[in-house]
Each structure stands twice: as C-alpha cells, then as structure tokens.
C-alpha cells in the first residue's frame, strides 16, 4: 500500500478488527500512517490482519480483547499505551449477536445479552478506559493529535428492524452515547461520532450466498446500487472522522449505506 501521512504517529485501537468493517477501518487508518491496534476477540483472526497490514508497509499489532468485559478493555488500552506510547483514536466496532427473532418470543439470555454487552456496555467501557488518553491527545499541538471516539452503529439503530428487533435498541443506544459524550467531552476537544454502515462484511456475504434474493433486494433499494466496501467506503468515512478534517464534527451519525436510508 502507499502509506499516506494524515494520521502519522497517531495510535488507533479498532475493536472487532479481525474481519469485516473493523478490518476495513484498520486497514484504511493504517494506510494513512496510523499505528493500529487490531483488537480482536481471538488472535487467530486479529493477528493475520495485523500481519497483513505490516506486510503492506503499515504499522499494526494485535491485542486479544473481549469488549464485553471491562477488564479486557482496560488491559487493551493499557497495553496499547504501554507499547505505543499514546492513544488518539478509538473505533468501537466489535459486535456479537443478531439472531433473527420475534420480539414477543425473544429471550433475554439468547437474543439480548450479547448485543447489549458488545454495544452499549462496550461503548461505555471504551469511553471510560480511553478518556484520559484521548484528553492527552487533544492537548497536543494542532496537527499532532486530537482525541477521537468513533462508534459503529447501524441504520437499524435509527429506523428499527423487522427481522432482528432487539438489534435496533442496541445500536440506538450507541448513538445516544455518542451525542452525550460529544457534549461531555467537547470542552476537552475530543470528538465522538458514529458511523452507520451497510457493507460487504463476511456475515452479509454469507447471507447473500444463502439467499441471493437478499443481495438483489438490498442493491435494488440502494440508490448507488451496490453494497459498501469495508475499506474504501466505510474505512474512508472512519478516516475522515479520525483525522483533523473532522475536528468540528461531533455527536453525529454518518449513515454510509449508498443512500438506502434517507431519514435523517
């Protein structure tokens, strides 16, 4: 890859970066010079992504992280700062769950807990553990830092979901956290935003293989006529929110879905 310079020296943690949207974001940030921590639940998925980024000239390492456990998030942040010296950008993307269900039959343990833990709980864990480092980043001279927290939500967090009803509140809660932290952390110069992507993640591609009509239907309702690429489409939005060009943007959700959802 050709390494750019807009994020040179910045350190970013990307959770759930062992595949899919997180991987795309990690790769895009690394392309612009960020030193990226691929925070993955299993090193078997995270380490190959980190190695691939390094092979292409980027700077990345993998730290095994279970975002649903506060102690694991704390260790990830501490290890990141210990090994790389600073932390400027946190992208919380990891998510577990999403089993289709009927709301009236949903069970808390089967259909809710994992989504709640990896969305709202994990967003608050990431915020809590990274705050002081993001403050330090924002105190650096202009162009040399700027604390950023980016939460990956979903269009379903705005418009609800007919197939996975409990997915939508898990994602909506993250949007409210971003707005709240934008207010709370604005005086520190930290920005907090969300991305609501629709992208060709492994899970979506698997769903397409099982049901080709789903892909046709999704593309047909999307003005741009295709599903987003995890690196070029979604990663580039994350790059904007992570860098200096977005320094006056906070509390917002960028829906990155080819124009499928136009309700904001």
């Amino acid at each position: 890859m050709n390494i750019g310079s807009s994020l040179v020296d910045r350190v970013a943690i990307v959770t759930g970066a062992g595949q899919g949207v997180g991987e795309g974001i990690a790769r895009r940030l690394a392309e612009e010079g960020a030193r990226v921590v691929v925070a993955a639940r299993r090193a078997e998925t995270g380490e190959p992504v980190a190695a691939s980024i390094r092979d292409e000239g980027g700077d990345a390492l993998c730290i095994e992280t279970d975002v649903s456990a506060s102690e694991s998030v704390r260790r990830c942040v501490e290890e990141t700062v210990g090994r790389l010296g600073r932390l400027d950008i946190v992208v919380h993307n990891a998510f577990t769950g999403g089993i289709p269900h009927r709301l009236e039959q949903a069970r808390i343990d089967k259909h809710w807990t994992a989504m709640s833990r990896t969305s709202v709980w994990a967003s608050l864990f990431c915020a809590r553990e990274s705050y002081r480092h993001l403050v330090e980043s924002s105190r650096r001279p202009a162009g040399e830092g700027g604390g950023r927290l980016i939460l990956i939500t979903s269009p379903s967090g705005v418009e609800g979901s007919a197939n996975i009803p409990l997915y939508s509140p898990a994602k909506a809660g993250q949007r409210a956290i971003a707005k709240s932290l934008a207010r709370e952390w604005g005086p520190d110069g930290i920005t907090v935003n969300c991305i609501a992507p629709v992208a060709a993640s492994p899970s979506l591609l698997t769903a397409f293989e099982r049901n080709p009509a789903l892909q046709q239907a999704l593309e047909a309702r999307t003005p741009l006529g295709r599903v987003g690429d995890i690196t070029r489409d979604i990663g580039s939005v994350a790059l904007f929110l992570a860098g200096d060009d977005s320094s006056y943007v906070t509390g917002q959700t960028i829906v990155c879905d080819g124009g499928s959802f136009l309700g904001l």
């Binding site: 709301l103 608050l124 609800g160 979901s161 009803p165 956290i177």
Partner: protein, 177 residues
C-alpha cells in the same frame, strides 16, 4: 377496556390516574430519576442500574403488553435520548434504545393490528438536570405553560390513532425540534 401503566415515579402515577381508553392499551414509562454521573467514572453496577435492568424491563414490558392483547402500546421517554445529555450517557442510551425498539415492535406487530408509539417529554419530567446535561435545543421552548403529555398519550392509546405506528410525538412545548 383497560389501560395498564408500567413504570415508577410521578409521571407514571399521573398517567395511571388520568389516561383512559376505548381499547386495551399499555403505557411504559421508561427509567427512573437518575443522578448525573461523569461517564468515565461510571461503575459497572451503575451501568447495570441505569441501562441494563431498565432496558430489560422495557423488553419484558412490551412482551407482556403483547401477551395480554393490548392493541395500543405507548412508550414514554425523555427527549434526552435524541439530544444526548452530558453526564447522562447511560440514561440517554436507555431512552433512545427504548424509542427505537418501538419502531421494531411496530414493524413486527402491525399485522396484528397493534400500534406501538413513543411520546418524548421534557427531561425535567424524569428529574434530569438540564444545567448539567446541556441544553436540549438551540432555542428556548416555543410554547409557554406546562407541557403535560397526558393528552398525547391518551390519543395514542385510543382507537382514533389506528393508522399511526412507529412514531414519536415530542410533547415538550416545542423545545426539541
């Protein structure tokens, strides 16, 4: 016909006393009267208290309403979920999650003739301190006087609102727009 009101506090008590309907309805008043907390000082126990347990109550409350055959379901939240609130991150998450779950429920249960809507009210009704949370809007309230949500809740609980579902009526005197 009965109107069941779930939830605690003055607002829930007021709605329990004043809302009637010509059709079976359930009203869920979400959350309590939380204290402001610096987000990076939130303990796991506080996240559980402010987010997890009340959110599970909302889910169970919706399921209970469906099970008892309610044809109108109304979820009452503070506008804090839409506006965000400094020092109220978990509370805002709860409010917005409940408000958007309304849309999912509306999508699934519409075929059964069940409407599910939200009423968003002034955060003061939930005891949220606007001096701490930050201004809800860029402008003052458009209307003077009290912003009592009872009439809006009652209408959404009635047969007259049969074609309205998945919506949020903001009943705060024109503060959040």
């Amino acid at each position: 016909m009965t109107v069941e009101v779930l939830g605690r506090g003055e607002l829930a008590d007021s709605l329990r006393r004043d809302v009637a309907s010509d059709i079976d309805a359930t009203v869920i008043v979400v959350g309590g009267r939380p204290d402001p907390i610096v987000t990076c000082e939130l303990s796991d126990a506080q996240i559980d208290e402010l987010w997890e347990r009340p959110m599970q109550e909302v889910i169970v409350g919706l399921q209970g309403a469906h099970a008892r055959g309610a044809k109108r379901i109304v979820v009452v939240v503070p506008t804090t979920g839409m506006s965000g609130g400094s020092h109220y991150a978990a509370t805002a998450a709860l409010a917005e999650a409940a408000r958007v779950l309304v849309k999912s429920a509306a999508r699934q249960w519409g075929a059964d003739g069940i409407t599910v809507n939200a009423v968003a009210v002034d955060p003061n009704a939930f005891g949220l301190d606007s001096k701490v949370s930050g201004p809800v809007s860029i402008a003052p309230r458009a209307l003077e006087g009290s912003a009592d949500p009872t009439a809006a809740v009652q209408w959404l609980c009635s047969s007259a609102s049969a074609q309205v579902t998945g919506q949020t009526i903001v009943c705060d005197g024109g503060l959040w727009m």
